[in-house]
């Protein structure tokens, strides 16, 4: 059976060049047909011409509250970006200057990309939870934040392609084959290639190389304020920019964040070093947004010093959601049990709270991370 097929294929191969005859390619009858419902579920990418964009709409004003609830923790209330998280607004006319600010308004050539990514991959840690209308509304709000639409604007499938993206014409297809390859394909010089060799720049001037004594975590030391968000590339390192690149968050004084916390109660979890170590690993999922320990301060999420025994929504200087504050006022106090319940289903336990985190499903992980937090002064 398969032998016959192989012979057929061979004959076809002999008859014509390979590329021209995909029709004759050998097949193996593996896999099964993809069902329409399956293809519909996964084929969600949106093309620049609006292909695959679902019916729906959303207003700037709806988008504003959705954005505050679901996006602002990282991207800022006005899409200006918090810490190193991506800035979504601003940056107009900065592309040709040093350290361009690349946002939806200043850089994205297609609006479809924004809709597609928000719908497919956001909110960070809780992807694929936005409804179609919510996505339209959030995208409308991002456009408004970039001064591209008025505050009464409603984005829909119908008017989607009418939105003009400022940098739509800002791209060219890779031109290295003409601009670079001829230049860099000449015979290389081997001797007396230059007269003068002197140092023009040193890395040690910046001193931003991670300490390498310990493992991977020792690298996460200083945080220059202006490193571009969500790229793996730092601010330009020339002398002019170095101060900016080096700028650190003001050393956070270990304020009396723990003052409200009752002294470690009964038998504390942090007594078990193995549990603390396991918790430190789990905490990697938290530390994008939360700090704990000496010098911790509020970031995207509140400091966790003094967490155990604290009334929910009461860290000084942190802007909580209304619902988190309300839960605290209604008597929610953080302990192993309540943290466990909260992290099992953050949005279910406290609807409309700000934390965009899917949670920790395993009870052991919660126990471990609490042990770590306690060991750090939580």
């Amino acid at each position: 059976m398969s032998k016959c097929r192989r012979n057929l294929t061979l004959a076809a191969l002999l008859a014509a060049p390979l590329l021209a005859t995909p029709a004759m390619a050998e097949t193996y009858n593996l896999g099964r047909p993809a069902l329409p419902a399956e293809m519909k579920a996964w084929t969600v990418e949106v093309f620049p011409d609006g292909k695959n964009l679902p019916e729906g709409s959303g207003s700037v004003s709806d988008g504003e509250s959705l954005f505050a609830d679901k996006c602002a923790a990282c991207h800022g209330d006005f899409a200006e970006g918090v810490d190193n998280w991506p800035k979504l607004a601003g940056g107009a006319d900065t592309l040709a200057r040093k350290d361009p600010v690349k946002t939806v308004g200043s850089y994205f050539p297609y609006l479809s990309t924004v809709w597609d990514y928000a719908h497919r991959s956001m909110p960070f840690g809780d992807a694929q939870t936005l409804t179609v209308d919510e996505t339209y509304a959030i995208v409308a709000y991002i456009l408004y934040s970039n001064d591209l639409v008025e505050d009464d604007f409603v984005l829909s499938k119908e008017n989607f392609l009418d939105v003009k993206m400022p940098n739509a014409d800002g791209f060219i297809v890779d031109d290295r084959p003409t601009t670079e390859y001829p230049l860099f394909s000449k015979a290389a010089c081997m001797t007396d290639c230059k007269k003068d060799v002197h140092i023009t720049m040193k890395a040690t001037v910046l001193n931003v190389t991670p300490d390498q004594e310990g493992g991977e975590d020792s690298a996460a030391a200083d945080t220059p304020a202006d490193a571009p968000a969500d790229t793996v590339v730092a601010t330009a390192a020339s002398e002019g920019a170095s101060a900016e690149a080096m700028a650190q968050d003001a050393p956070a004084a270990a304020e009396e964040t723990a003052a409200a916390a009752p002294a470690a109660t009964q038998e504390t979890l942090d007594a078990d070093p193995a549990l603390v170590a396991a918790g430190e690993k789990v905490f990697k999922k938290c530390k994008a947004c939360h700090q704990v320990g000496d010098g911790a301060k509020n970031k995207v999420g509140p400091v966790l010093n003094g967490l155990i025994g604290r009334q929910a929504g009461t860290v000084d200087g942190f802007k909580y959601s209304k619902s988190m504050k309300q839960h605290g006022e209604d008597g929610l106090v953080w302990n192993e049990e309540t943290v466990q319940a909260y992290l099992a289903d953050p949005k279910g336990y406290i609807p409309k709270n700000k934390m965009s985190f899917a949670g920790l499903k395993k009870a052991d992980d919660v126990k471990a991370v609490l042990a770590y937090i306690e060991s750090q002064g939580g």
Binding site: T27, R32, E45, Y110, E216, A227, D230
Partner: protein, 436 residues
């Protein structure tokens, strides 16, 4: 003046005889004796004259380590990340310790990682690969289905487009791990993507293959969707199920990842779940707002997929100081090109004034990493160490200045410029740039 002249003077000429090398080496060895090395006029070395514990008792039994890690003495040879680069560690990158490795295959456990939404755990049983779009019959494969297609073994480097990105505007990070470490080189076992696309059927496309695309996306929350020209997909891409002989590691896309030889790492979609043949590029986030290269005039290049020829001296380097003093010194490094095999690597010890051809450990392999060595008799004076790769197309790795002259300083991605290590008389090195 004297200083500059000295910089420009090679510490050794290109005509270096083996006999001279050996003689010089012997002399240097006598002068720069390392700790523990016995000399004729010293006490005998107790490591030799006394029975050591490891020569007396037992080591570990064969059941001690069902799957091994490197010995504890090598615990500093690990991936490292740079905390200030990204907002968090979930959407971030770490770096291969290339400074401490040799050969060409990157040990999987220290091969760098880049995730956009964290490294997910996806079981083989839960794995599905869909092929749809402009195919004759859209299909779904399980992992077991994939194992039944004829597969191939091929070795390729994977370099992140942003490798050396922090170095665009000047020397910034002090160590080859951080400056060039977003790279690894593995042997993949996988099914040619052509085989899978032909299984779904592309006869309907006729001769229109040139205009079509394959949109590849992952199963993780980021999806990391990328549009790949169908021609490339049919040429040399693989759907890999193994790397370096074993299952892919979680962080490298277990159980299935796409291999896009010679092209930027972001396109090597991990946890590959869908391949859609399309009429046009999707223009996803990762191919518009990211992985595009902004030129000095504010215009950006897109679809800059190919990784051009590049090399770096991995030792000596800032993390690999010379500890033995003058005498025989092995200068080594790695080179690669997304456009073909490496054919030649030159090394300069005087900042690019004079070059010597280094020895390739093995003949270059198409789109795979090469290892080079230059064995010199170091006279103990400072060096400005550089390496310069040439690939099968005749392309010669340019200086950073030459790249910046064309692209400006905001390009971020695709920095394949020549790296300079300033090796000082005490053997320590520093990342610098020198005049061109």
């Amino acid at each position: 003046m004297d200083e500059k002249e000295r910089h420009a003077t090679p510490a050794t000429g290109t005509g270096f005889s083996r006999r001279g090398f050996l003689r010089a080496g012997a002399a240097a060895g006598a002068m720069a004796a390392g700790a523990g090395a016995a000399r004729a006029d010293q006490q005998p070395d107790p490591l030799i004259t006394e029975v050591q514990s490891w020569a007396q008792g037992w080591g570990d039994g064969v059941d001690a380590t069902p799957y091994g890690l490197p010995i504890e003495f090598e615990s500093d040879v690990i991936r490292r990340n740079v905390g200030w680069l990204t907002a968090d560690v979930i959407s971030s990158i770490n770096f291969t310790p290339i400074h401490a490795l040799d050969g060409t295959i990157t040990p999987t456990g220290c091969a760098f990682e880049r995730h956009h939404s964290g490294a997910i755990e996806l079981k083989k049983e839960d794995y599905r690969l869909m092929i749809n779009g402009l195919v004759d019959k859209p299909l779904v494969f399980t992992y077991e289905d994939l194992e039944r297609f004829p597969r191939e073994n091929r070795t390729y480097f994977l370099e992140c487009a942003a490798n050396s990105g922090m170095e665009w505007a000047g020397a910034q990070l002090n160590g080859a791990q951080f400056t060039q470490g977003m790279i690894h080189n593995m042997q993949y076992s996988g099914i040619p993507l052509r085989t899978l696309l032909e299984e779904a059927g592309i006869t309907n496309l006729g001769d229109k293959i040139k205009d079509k695309w394959v949109y590849a996306e992952g199963a993780d929350a980021s999806s990391n969707g990328r549009s790949i020209p169908l021609e490339k997909a049919l040429d040399d891409c693989l759907v890999a199920i193994k790397a370096n002989g074993e299952a892919l590691r979680k962080e490298h896309g277990y159980p299935v990842r796409l291999v896009v030889p010679g092209w930027e790492g972001n396109m090597w979609v991990k946890w590959l779940r869908r391949l859609e043949v399309t009429d046009e590029a999707v223009q996803s986030r990762e191919e518009t707002s990211k992985y595009t290269d902004t030129l000095a005039n504010g215009i950006s290049r897109k679809w800059t997929w190919v990784m051009d020829a590049k090399s770096v001296v991995t030792s000596p380097s800032p993390q690999m100081p010379i500890k033995h003093g003058k005498g025989p010194l092995v200068i080594t490094g790695i080179a690669w090109s997304g456009r073909g095999a490496i054919t030649k690597v030159d090394v300069s010890i005087d900042g690019g004034a004079n070059w010597q051809e280094a020895r390739l450990a093995e003949p270059g392999v198409d789109k795979a990493m090469s290892r080079f060595y230059l064995d010199i008799d170091w006279d103990g004076s400072e060096m400005f160490l550089q390496s310069r790769a040439t690939d099968a197309t005749g392309y010669v790795q340019p200086t950073k200045d030459a790249l910046r002259a064309i692209r400006g300083e905001n390009s971020v991605y695709h920095n394949n410029g020549i790296q300079t290590w300033w090796v000082k008389e005490n053997g320590e090195s520093e990342n610098v740039e020198v005049s061109s």
